[in-house]
């Protein structure tokens, strides 16, 4: 392992007649926090297994630090790993668990002791050395797994849904800590999750996977605000996807309203207009006839604390979600109110249906 960069070139994996990963290519520079995000069955775990060396690719190459690792077994790849179920060895103490990656390589006792102490300090588990797995809480087990992944100072750490089993508070806490450790050690992290919020918070870049392919790859803000498909739009957070059709030079949506979007032209006769709920402004009264202005009737108004979420019937079977900040002096709309929905062209995109 040299510089911590990782690349996949046209990697494919089939199980029988089923193609689980279909020709994925990506390049991860050293020090990046890269997330594979997707629903279950999208191929993200298989992709990670091919990076780890547990699964051999049928086609394509796996490169690490520029070296071809496609056929190298896991122990030759020098990676740190955090497993979904933590995989803490029940017959070993915390210290022995953390020491495992070093002791199998025959590292000297004194160096092991120093490295284990350092790793445990980093995950704030100093003092837990002699405990066994059954004496640890879920969060503590997670920390042991993390310490064990970083103890050998790997340039690349793979994490497979490491926070999946933790409750929400602890999750947030661990997200911050993992991110912090990653920055301090300057390591490349390849992270698998199905939790879109986690992916958005932690990642430098996200690859959203759909049926064995990368649907879209980019920084969190870009994939969130500029989805290239309806799958990406609706997988990452809430999205309004309105049916639209071409009418001469114009694009018309619900009630024949004219819609415009800054990017992503409508290539076919019909398609979808995408806009996030928080980008839609809701005003009282009917809409003036202008682009990206729709009249609708409030169906529900849900108070979520910092925001109020409206569900608004825009006619022609279209229902929009609109999030309004619960800002100072704002009087909420009530169910039954007639309102106008407005959004900017740069917040909207036309997508293939």
């Amino acid at each position: 392992m040299s510089d911590g960069s990782v690349a996949l070139e046209g990697v494919t994996k089939r199980y029988g007649s089923e193609t689980v990963v279909a020709g994925i290519s990506l390049a991860i520079p050293a020090g990046e926090f890269f997330t594979l995000l997707g629903p279950s069955g999208s191929g993200k775990t298989t992709t990670l297994s091919m990076l780890a060396g547990f699964v051999m690719a049928d086609e394509g190459r796996v490169l690490m630090g520029g070296r071809d690792m496609t056929r190298v077994p896991p122990r030759g790849r020098g990676l740190g790993m955090v497993f979904q179920n933590y995989a803490i060895f029940p017959h070993l103490t915390v210290a022995e668990n953390v020491a495992f990656p070093l002791s199998v390589k025959g590292t000297s006792k004194s160096e092991i002791a120093a490295r284990v102490a350092e790793a445990l300090a980093m995950v704030k588990l100093t003092g837990f050395e002699t405990r066994y797995q059954r004496q640890l809480s879920g969060g503590q087990q997670q920390r042991v797994a993390l310490a064990r992944a970083i103890v050998a100072h790997p340039r690349v750490v793979l994490m497979d849904e490491p926070l999946g089993a933790l409750d929400k508070n602890l999750r947030y806490h661990m997200q911050v800590e993992i991110k912090d450790i990653q920055r301090r050690l300057g390591m490349t992290v390849i992270y698998v999750t199905h939790d879109q919020e986690e992916a958005l918070t932690m990642s430098d870049r996200i690859a959203i996977m759909e049926r064995g392919r990368i649907a879209q790859m980019g920084p969190p803000r870009e994939v969130y605000e500029k989805p290239q498909s309806s799958f990406v739009a609706s997988f990452l957070g809430e999205a309004n996807l309105l049916r639209v059709r071409r009418d001469g030079p114009a694009v018309r949506g619900p009630g024949g309203s004219v819609l415009v979007a800054a990017e992503g032209g409508l290539s076919a006769a019909e398609g979808l207009a995408f806009v996030r709920p928080e980008k839609v402004r809701v005003e009282s009264g009917r809409a003036e006839p202008a682009p990206n202005r729709l009249t609708g009737k409030v169906l529900h108004a849900s108070f979520l604390g910092n925001i109020v979420r409206y569900e608004i019937d825009a006619g022609d079977g279209a229902t929009l979600l609109c999030d309004a900040a619960n800002a100072a002096g704002v009087e909420p709309h009530r169910p039954g109110d007639i309102v106008t929905m407005i959004w900017r062209p740069e917040d909207s995109r036309f997508l293939a249906a």
């Binding site: 547990f54 790993m81 497993f83 179920n85 995989a87 060895f89 017959h91 199998v104 059954r134």
Partner: protein
Amino acid sequence: MPLGRLPAWLLLAPALLLLIGVFLVPIGWFLVASIMELGTPAEIWEEVDAVLFSGAVAGALINTNWIGLVVTLLVLVIGYPVSYALSRAKGVAFTLILLCIVLPYFTSTIVRTYAWMVLLGRNGLINQVLLGTGLISEPLNLLYNRTGVVIGMTYVLLPYMVLTLYAAMKAVDMRLLQAAEGMGATPLQVFLRVFAPLTLHGVIAGVLITFILAIGFFVTPALMGGPSDIMIAMLIEREVELTQNWPAAAIMTVVLLTVTLILYGLYSRFSGALEGGAKP
């Protein structure tokens, strides 16, 4: 009343009564009556001393322990890989392996032993094959000696070891082995540092149950062994049937029973660990 609400002792009562009636009471009566026949405690002690330190009993005890040890080790060495295969096999393969191990148990011990005698005899199948292929020039003595006893007992005891180890191995989380591999362990290290320690309690339990059963063996050594392969159970039978020295038989029985119960106490500790020990 639904069956689930019956107290446990009521459900156990028929079996317990049977055990008490046909096992505990007769054996207790046999031991007490036989030993009381001897008279005063001093006289009893004299007889105990005479029996335990007689050449025949000492020899049988040595034989019993030695054969038990060799058989247990052989069963462990043969059984460990079989159990591993069984614990990882699925579907048809699993059923086939399990059938091969368990099916012989639907046959009577005597029949199985005679089957081995057909295979192992001087003109048996094994010797004929070996002579035919020219691997040996003289028939091997596989029967009516220590070799025959060990082969026969190893075969009979193998399933106890396999099934005990299987339970321990089945409980091992395969993801731990993969994790070890991912952390840089070689296949040998994965086995020595993870799999072996996680199945150790199964090995101990399997060794104990095999040894317990081995030291009480009677039919196999009687039929497949030679004149020097007397085990303690055979000696007890001889004292009862031939010499009708019941006190001597009773003393030997007490020795065998004590050893068995001590080992069983250890066994139940380790087999208990099968359910609780390996998991968080």
